[in-house]
Amino acid sequence: MSSILFENKKDFEALLMGNDAIARGALEAGVNVVTGYPGTPSSEIVEQLANVAGERNLYVEWSVNEKVALEVAAAGSYANLKSLCVMKQVGVNVAADSLLHIAEYGTRGPLVLVSCEDPGALSSTNEGDSRPYAKMMEFPLLEPGDFQEAKDMARWAFELSCDIRNIVMLRSVTRLSHASGNVIMGKLPKSIPEAIFEFSGTPMDQMKGAVLAFPTLVDSLRRRQHEKLSKAVAAFEESPFNTYTGPQKPELLIITSSVCNLYTREALTILNLWDRVGLLKLGTTWPLPSKLLEQHLSVCEKIFIVEEGTPFLEDNIKVMAAEKAKQVGIKTFFGRKDGTLPCVNELNPDLLIKGINHILGTSVQPVLDDYSAEAAQIIAAGVFNRELTFCPGCPHRASFWLIHTALKLDNRSGFLCGDIGCYGLGAGPCGFSTIKILQAMGSGIGMAGGFGKFDRFGMSQSVMAVCGDSTFFHAAMPALVNAVHNQSDMILVVLDNSGTAMTGFQPHPGSPAGAMGSKLPMLDIEKLCRAMDVRVEVSDPFDLKATRQILLEFLEDKGNPRVLILKQPCALSPIRKGRKMYEMAIDADRCLADHCGCNRLCTRVFKCPGLIWDTIKNKIQIDEVLCAGCGVCASICPTGAITAKKVR
């Protein structure tokens, strides 16, 4: 592997993306086992490490979901290996049950959980903040404040985990994971691990006993866990990742962590306030280093806590300040809770400037409040208004067209429960607003299973759910089992586009190869569903006629769940990208345009970006560059004005 990221020499500097820096840090720590489930902004870490799996003798897998990913990584730890488990913020919720038990027992080989989170929900359906898990489940939490730290703290997380024999969580955010900065590399170690799971010792022998979470052991396990936390605090008090910059007696003490460190530094430089304001940047945010905080809190009355997500630091520091009130005195706190900073969304230097202006009465003008609105207005004049939409040739457009039509014809106010994937766009115009419920992974099927039981309360609406192929394995299977067992009257449509498309085609258990590229057996969704003894049909969403018939039949059917698997690879997948199935052409004489009889069904309703409306001729045109040649628009054109010729 030629990437500079993996060069086996030390002390050279390179521009690295935050996620690459974390991957490098893990390599420098000598990681052996890497697991994860894809999710923006976390996916690159596992992908990068998969690239050097052979070279660095790693075991890397994309697991079926985050809980299993953490369990495979924990197995690594219990086999005395160094393990890394990577996920996005929502994944931590999926893994939470295992996480609680792993943290309670502790680890053997180091186990680092990386959660890459998404303040501002740039690529998420939520602003989940996983930091409270560290407090709730009592394990250490680290938050790198720049790119060098991302690498260094990733490496150190392994050392810490090894020292205290418990899981350590490293939290990144989109603006760190996906931004880039200079990083000085360390050495890549030589390690010759010997994997063995020992169980010869007593249950409380952490390194050699059986790993048991048992009611009678809980008291002892938790006491041991608290000792580990105390050991972590001792290390945190001295940690070079907690830094202070500023005067000895600042007018205002800013306490921050993570990428907010960079925003705060920029704001203080713009405000020219480094001589008046102190910045305590914490890299270790749970448990808090109490002595370090006591020392800084006692020299300043005004405390401004800058963080994204929930007021996690703010609450914990306030508790500590109360506990140490005699030593540090009464403080005035500013942060997200009092409105000095907005309580939601990500932060930026301008919001920091506004906050500091509010506290110190400075008057540097940050970006104007109406800047965004004004910029949008100026841009609107020169840029086409583009809706969120599926790619040209995306199978989801055809699938939603079919589901929309079937539910309309069924005429029982039927609705579709959505799930997490590109197909979440089915809630918008490109999916004909078919999805009416969209929450977590797998929850569409779970809820459809519920709705399908409410006929006894007079519910007569048809209930459908969609999930992708990756989601099917991740979280839909138990929900489907539940619906089958409880005989719920619902229809599941699996939108099988042959990969975890939205996050970049990571493989899943239905794929022919794993993260490391080696051939693996493919699990067949159809066979799995058939084994549940439900009616299963498989169809091509591009075959509108046949698929429509199946959907209408399914809607007629009653009782048990029915499963329709719509198979068609993603238009951007390696199998389809750049390959047209059809050469599309226009017979302009047949085009009814915006006249009664059509009214531009293709560009007004179907709206594939590969179709363009020629406003001069008032006719449909194919955008040769964008068209993926799926041929579906020819099937929806009522007059045959769009034609499809099979490409050999």
Partner: protein
């Protein structure tokens, strides 16, 4: 018409003024004109939104505002107009001469015999008539061979999507088309024929003959399915019928014998929109056919049809049927015409009452002009 009305003479108008008002007859005049409206299992479905301010769906719909008087003047001889039952050239009592046709018919088989004759004699090249599947879901079919007609006879209790087939067939290079139509369908065809949008002129010229059916009401197929399921369980149903009898009921023929459903229960399945229908005798047809009802009792004319001839074409067809011997005729009792007028006026009056109840305005009949001479006459009859 206010501004909003003017902007809503397309699919949006169909939605707000017809479908949401419960006025849709299921005639399918709006189906197969565009890809956004479909017929599915006895329902007219707006599959995709259309934002055109004017559309043929609205123009041809029999439940959008209609100038009845203009249609009557354009299609019929003004001298033939009878306020209660429309254009009238004569009332006849007929039945098919062919016993086999009669055996398959609900009443006298006159419709089947006339359509066969029309195809055979080149009156029309293609006939569109109702059919149904084994669950009594009506379908419509276009037929060119007269021998295929007889299998389609017998009453259908739900509206068939006849006009969707007319819309499809009339776009092809077919010849003269004859349509067996209910009153709502005949009205839609009249709107299409008298005032087609320019692109429909050619295809409307193909409409040669409208053979109308008397109609009291139609059943909602989805409701009927539910009722039949309740009454027969899993038994296989061979057929259903409502025979003229003293005690009206629906007879359901199953493998295990006949199950009778009282008419009051069947009435709960009647389409809501039928309450707002102004036409019993299919006034916009060339010739209209219904069951014969004799003043002497329900069973006197059992097995016979009553026929109203409305146009010269209708008259020619009936005369030809007499000449060729495909229909048998019997004398019409004097009172029949009066009874027919009374029954028809009764339906019209009920319609006006129901419409004004819906609008809350005694002079707002939604799709019917309060100044229409027939409306004025009916209101006068009521006193």
């Amino acid at each position: 018409m206010d501004k909003d009305d003017k902007n809503q003479q397309g699919q949006q108008g169909i939605n707000t003024k017809v479908l949401k008002q419960g006025l849709c007859t299921g005639c399918c005049a709006c189906v197969n004109l565009c890809p956004s409206i479909e017929y599915y299992k006895d329902k007219t479905i707006l599959v995709h939104d259309c934002n055109l301010e004017k559309g043929r769906c609205f123009t041809y719909c029999p439940r959008t505002p209609t100038d009845f008087e203009m249609l009557r003047c354009a299609l019929f001889n003004p001298g033939d107009m009878v306020l209660e039952i429309g254009a009238f050239k004569g009332l006849y009592m007929t039945r098919a001469a062919d016993e086999n046709i009669r055996a398959g018919a609900q009443h006298g088989g006159t419709v089947t015999a006339l359509i066969q004759l029309a195809l055979d004699q080149g009156f029309i090249d293609e006939a569109i008539l109702a059919d149904q599947n084994d669950q009594f879901l009506p379908a419509a079919q276009s037929i060119v061979d007269k021998d295929e007609v007889s299998g389609k006879s017998g009453s259908k209790f739900a509206v068939s999507p006849t006009l969707s087939v007319f819309n499809r067939i009339s776009k092809t290079d077919t010849g003269k088309i004859g349509v067996v139509a209910t009153p709502c369908q005949a009205l839609a065809l009249a709107k299409m024929k008298v005032n087609p949008v320019p692109e429909d002129k050619m295809r409307m010229e193909k409409l040669r003959l409208v053979l109308g059916l008397f109609c009291g009401w139609a059943l909602d197929w989805r409701k009927l399915q539910k009722l039949l399921k309740e009454k027969t369980g899993d038994r296989k149903i061979k057929g259903i019928d409502i025979l003229p009898s003293k005690y009206a009921c629906m007879e359901v023929y199953t493998m295990d014998g006949t199950i009778e459903i009282p008419i009051e229960e069947v009435n709960t399945c009647v389409r809501d929109n039928c309450r707002y229908c102004f036409d019993m005798t299919c006034e916009f047809a060339d010739i209209s056919v219904g069951a014969a009802r004799s003043p002497e009792g329900w069973d006197v004319d059992r097995g016979w049809n009553q026929v109203i001839v409305r146009t010269d074409l209708g008259g020619q067809l009936l005369a030809l049927a007499r000449e060729k011997g495909v229909l048998e005729f019997k004398a019409v009792p004097d009172k029949n015409i009066e009874n027919l007028k009374k029954a028809s006026a009764g339906k019209k009056l009920t319609c006006l009452i129901n419409l004004s109840e819906k609008t809350g305005n005694p002079d707002d009949f939604i799709y019917i002009d309060p100044e229409d001479p027939v409306v004025r006459h009916i209101k006068k009859l009521r006193g």
